[in-house]
């Protein structure tokens, strides 16, 4: 696996329009979209995929942006690197959970070249961004020559390495709503080594009213199913109540029951299941503390 062994035709798009045109032309061909390629190139080296065409969109500078609006929230263009998200002052201020998550994605070298959207489109269920996107209620904007649509981040992945993006389409933007007052969001990944894929990861969002009652909770889980997961039953445990340690433990048990992990060399399925619950309890507490201070 020192090299990519199968030839492919390499096509470059410099604008979103060029990219959509190329995708439309090749929608019946075996192609892959290449952004930073930090997952794709390795997957090709491992000979897990051998596309006939590689459509390189990395140099579409029109889609390399981070925009924030108090009402609309955050917009991240599809070619924004992990590192740009990690270092963005507005993200650090308004969505610190995103910057914190990015700080432990692989290594600086990978984050300098790889994109957060590409990471999400690779759809490894143990990757870091998706649980945070689920907790933040992010939407993926998907464009094709015939128009665009948005998909909730929790419905974006269909299975291991599979998403709802159809042939001829590409993700052009991540849309994250503005956070209401008294909201705390935290993320934690448990991995063998810093920067590794998660054995399990959890993102929790908690919004409180003035009396400290939880009005909204969103929980995203990584590494514990064939896709990133939204723990809806665990969220219901927290909603409408004053959050206590006991309630968080109950939410943890509920989240644990919602997972369907597989065993691997890093951890057994039982371990991942247990860990997901423990992390929901811990990260939930951190999110609560943040919401109380917000």
């Amino acid at each position: 696996m020192k090299a990519i062994t199968t030839d492919f035709e390499y096509l470059v798009a410099k604008t979103p329009e060029e990219a959509l045109e190329l995708l439309s032309q090749h929608k019946d061909d075996d192609y892959k979209i290449l952004a930073g390629g930090q997952s794709l190139n390795t997957t090709m080296k491992h000979r897990l995929i051998t596309p006939a065409y590689v459509i390189d969109i990395k140099s579409i500078s029109d889609l390399d942006y981070i925009q924030f609006d108090e009402k609309k929230g955050l917009r991240i263009g599809a070619l924004t690197t992990h590192r740009a998200v990690e270092k963005s002052p507005i993200i650090k201020e308004k969505y610190s959970v995103l910057a914190e998550m990015e700080g432990n994605v692989a290594s600086v070298e990978t984050r300098n070249w790889g994109t957060i959207t590409g990471d999400l489109c690779h759809a490894d269920p143990a990757a870091d961004p998706a649980p945070v996107m689920i907790a933040l209620d992010a939407k993926m904007k998907i464009s094709g020559v015939n128009g665009e649509r948005t998909v909730d981040s929790e419905n974006f992945a269909l299975d291991f390495f599979e998403t709802v993006v159809e042939p001829g389409e590409m993700v052009t933007e991540i849309q994250i709503p503005a956070l209401p007052p008294n909201t705390g969001v935290k993320f934690q990944k448990y991995s063998q080594m810093l920067g590794d894929y998660a054995i399990a990861s959890v993102a929790v969002l908690i919004t409180l009213d003035k009396k400290g009652v939880c009005t909204n909770a969103r929980i995203g889980l990584g590494g514990v199913a064939s896709t990133p997961l939204r723990a809806k039953i665990a969220e219901e445990v927290l909603k409408g109540k004053k959050i206590t340690d006991e309630l968080l433990a109950e939410a943890g048990r509920a989240a644990s029951a919602e997972t369907s992990p597989v065993s691997g060399i890093e951890a057994s399925a039982e371990y991942r299941k247990e860990l997901a619950g423990t992390l929901v309890k811990r990260v939930g507490k951190q999110a609560l503390e943040k919401a109380l201070k917000a």
């Binding site: 020192k2 390499y10 080296k45």
Partner: protein, 166 residues
Amino acid sequence: MKQQLNIVVNGEAYDLFIEPKTLLVQVIRDMLGLKGTHQACDSSSCAACTVVLDGKAVKSCSILALQANGKSVVTVEGLAQGTKLHPIQQAFIDNWAFQCGFCTSGQIMGAKALLDENPNPTREEIQEAMDGHLCRCTGFNMINEAIRDAAKRLQEQKAAESGRVA
């Protein structure tokens, strides 16, 4: 079908024809003969292949060479001036920051990108920036010390140069 690659490596412009599947590290090592850039894990886990691409440290084993078209690459061979080592290289020697040396060129290029961006990093900032670089001899502490020493040397060099201009 081979495609054209225009790339500047260590200040020299190259006009090459390559298969699209060619990785940046293959161009650097096999076509240009610059063997200082090492290929080890080959799965984007070790950073031995780190080079500086348009000012940013990247893993050359995980980038198609054609993605570097029109860009500028610095490898470890691009640091020394003649026989005079770059301050980061000298600091690695003086601080015993390598043992087998296999990871060293990647470590040095990671350090180069870090110090270009942040000329005076703390111990923690160095740890954070370098945490993707694996040293199987586990000389991490000495590497950190060498980078802090290199930062000092580079700042002294800069001060001396601006002194000369004044």
